[in-house]
Symmetry: C2
Subunit: 111 residues, 2 copies
DNA sequence: GTTGGTACTGACAAATTTGTCAGTAAAGGG
DNA sequence: CCCTTTACTGACAAATTTGTCAGTACCAAC
């Protein structure tokens, strides 16, 4: 039985990573840290993601209290996602992660 | 075809996370940030990990230049892993991740 | 000569995650 | 009527990651 990172773990590193665990969650949060976005807008801004995966991840992030989903009951529907107050506590962490990533993305393998 | 996080991605968040991508890598690095350790010592310090997974992750981290493997050619063998100079650049990032994790691990679900 | 301890491999099974594809709803326009 | 748009579901296939299990090598001690 595979032990997924989603299970509760003693390790605080795992606790944090489990929140971003998912192929596209880091990127989604990164995009949303610039401000609220509509579903389709978000999808178009992330190359390679499929609508299915985007929605699955969005739902998990909403369930975990990281994102807020606001829906205008119009036709066609208009749904906007934004980072919750709780999710905002993650942003500085993402910034540090992002800074490391930017600094090392081209250098991979040169060690 | 599933797109693994290990592939090169434009997103710097993904670049960083791909280095820690693996069920136990964050924890392994966290343990080693306290100082070099032998394989078995590391295994005993991480509840739930199997020897197989530990070794697989260690090998990947060595391959990626994050860890250094030092072997004393004795019998029985004695192998010690430590964080490389390059890997050290990750430690501050792990610290921030860990701090968030510690602060929020019991509060999960309370939002 | 059998056992013990350490680090590690290979083959394979199980679990999990991701991706694909075909729908649904609902109002408005043609 | 049929088609469009937007957000979303369900069922299922494919890929990937994890876990299990049985070995290997080596020398020393018993």
């Amino acid at each position: 039985m595979a032990v997924s990172k989603k299970e509760i773990s003693e390790c605080p590193i795992d606790t944090m990573l489990s929140v971003i665990d998912g192929r596209w969650k880091g990127t989604i949060l990164w995009r949303l840290s610039a401000g609220p976005m509509r579903t389709g807008e978000l999808r178009r801004s992330i190359p390679g993601i499929t609508e299915r995966m985007l929605i699955r991840h969005l739902q998990e992030l909403v369930r975990d209290g990281i994102l807020v989903r606001r829906e205008e009951r119009t036709v066609p529907p208009c749904v906007r996602y934004s980072i919750s107050k709780y999710g905002m506590t993650l942003v500085p962490v993402l910034e540090v992660i992002c800074r490391w990533g930017r600094r090392h993305q081209r250098l991979a393998g040169s060690h």
